[in-house]
């Protein structure tokens, strides 16, 4: 069966420090992968998506970047965090269009 792993679950980082969030999917190949951010009490904003290795599409210009070094691995990064980068980050993949997305358990990032 397919599973999605996302880590870490919680992260507190100082302003100006780097960031690396990792997401991996098991049990499938060539999935579409997505990074969303959810501000406190608000909806989900699509940050990046990838339809294949090395293919990254950015939805919102910002302080973050994404990479897909392997088929089932999706990484969200920043060189220098800002206070505004705080939020809840969710990774997701498409199991099949009719099934919608399957989400990871999320990372709560607090930039202090």
């Amino acid at each position: 069966s397919q599973t999605i792993h996302q880590w870490p679950a919680t992260l507190v980082q100082p302003v100006g420090s780097p960031l690396s969030l990792e997401c991996t999917v098991e049990g499938t190949s060539n999935p579409n992968l997505y990074w969303y951010r959810q501000a406190a009490g608000r909806g989900l904003q699509l940050l990046f998506y990838s339809v294949g290795i090395g293919q990254i599409s950015s939805e919102v210009p910002q302080n973050l970047s994404a990479s897909r070094p392997q088929d089932r691995q999706f990484i969200l990064s920043s060189k220098k965090l800002l206070l505004s980068d705080s939020g809840f980050y969710l990774c997701a993949w498409v199991r099949g269009i009719t099934y919608g997305y399957t989400f990871g358990s999320g990372t709560r990032l607090t930039v202090v």
Binding site: N32, Y34, R42, L46, Y49, G100, G106
Partner: protein
């Protein structure tokens, strides 16, 4: 670009009663998918129900059903026999199934539902 609007920021319902959450969307597409996701306090996103736009029949999953009005671009969620475990934020979402488009899911702002005992 597609947009999804959930006009009810918060709602409450008594246990065992029925509640309806509203969702409207804007698109010029004819082929698309609509979803309702639930996000309980654990913040895990859980798929509740989905609807294919080409199907006229409303989707149903146990106590959850939708009222899909394609012409009106409306997609409401009805929860029957509400349970305490239904307390969560509910998101309506739209997808245009096109690989070049990334099969992106566009979410509404969400509705917080509180079920009271």
């Amino acid at each position: 670009a597609q947009t999804v609007t959930q006009s009810q920021p918060e709602m409450s319902v008594q246990e065992a009663e029925t509640v309806t959450l509203s969702c409207t969307y804007d698109t010029s597409e004819n082929n698309y998918y609509l979803f309702w996701y639930k996000q309980p306090p654990s913040r895990q996103m859980i798929l509740v129900i989905r609807q294919e736009a080409y199907k006229q029949q409303n989707a149903t999953e146990n106590r959850f059903s939708v009222n899909f009005q394609k012409a009106a671009k409306s997609f409401s969620l009805k929860i029957s026999d509400s349970q305490l475990g239904d307390t969560a934020m509910y998101f309506c979402a739209f997808m245009k199934p096109l690989l070049e488009y990334g099969n992106k899911l566009v979410f509404g702002a969400g509705t917080i539902l509180r079920v009271k005992s």
